[in-house]
């Protein structure tokens, strides 16, 4: 079971998305979500969107394990 988090504008597209999913990479999660939530799928494919696993920025093909926390991060705007 992989836990999912969506931040910033991605959260607006992910309101009906379940909080957990079964998948082996972030890229696979993105493909699975795009089927049922095409707007979210499109937003996740934007090149500025980063993905983290357990709070570390990773590549989209990073292997996932049971209990991993995967977060999708649009460009940040702090300060």
């Amino acid at each position: 079971m992989i836990n999912l988090l969506f931040f910033g504008r991605l959260g607006d597209f992910a309101k009906d998305v379940p909080s957990t999913i079964e998948a082996s990479t972030p890229a696979e999660i993105r493909e699975l979500l795009a089927v049922e939530f095409p707007d979210l799928g499109k937003a996740l494919h934007q090149p500025q969107v980063l993905v983290s696993v357990n709070k570390m920025i990773v590549d989209w093909d990073q292997p996932l394990f049971d209990g991993s926390e995967v977060a999708f991060l649009p460009p940040v705007t702090g300060g």
């Binding site: 988090l5 931040f7 910033g8 504008r9 959260g11 607006d12 983290s52 709070k55 977060a71 991060l73 649009p74 460009p75 940040v76 705007t77 702090g78 300060g79």
Partner: protein, 164 residues
């Protein structure tokens, strides 16, 4: 170096943080503080201001756990780069009204150049690297704020300087 990093909903007291920075050590000769405030209008992605776009509130979201660890790393980088005695970073989250304080960066050092440069470095990184997201409400409508090209540019100058 004395480090204080806080992410919080409640307001902060710049005066109190300044006194803590100042009193860290008897060799403190310079204290720089930066306070960021909610302006009562919106800034577009291009960085143009429009006074017509008055906002009702600003909302700040962050990624708990990840943000703190990014801020610790950023402060550690500043400490490696400059001669610092104490550093404070406070960033608020949640809903903020116009004119409220958003962020405080404070740096104490022996000499002023270190404090000024480290404070600018920390702000540039807060704007572009830390996991915060801002949205504004205007006439009941919420809109996410785009990151500004000028902020990306400001952050990149430190990479160039490191290469030299």
């Amino acid at each position: 170096m004395t480090v204080r990093i806080r992410i919080q909903q409640q307001d902060f007291d710049l005066a109190e943080e300044y006194q803590l920075l100042r009193q860290t050590d008897s060799v403190v000769g310079a204290v720089v503080t930066f306070a960021g405030l909610v302006r009562d209008f919106e800034v577009s992605a291009e960085g143009h201001d429009s006074l017509a776009n008055s906002i009702d509130s600003l909302s700040l979201q962050h990624y708990p756990g990840m943000t703190e660890s990014l801020l610790e790393k950023i402060v550690e980088q500043a400490n490696e780069r400059w001669n610092l005695i104490a550093t404070t970073v406070i960033h608020r989250v949640g809903d903020l009204a116009p004119r409220e304080q958003i962020v405080l960066v404070g740096v104490a050092s022996q000499h002023r150049a270190d404090a000024f440069e480290a404070a600018q470095f920390l702000m540039d990184y807060l704007k572009t690297q830390a996991t915060f997201w801002k949205s504004v409400s205007r006439n009941g409508e919420q809109r996410w704020i785009e990151s500004k090209a000028s902020d990306q540019h400001a952050a990149r100058r430190w990479e160039r300087a490191a290469d030299e």
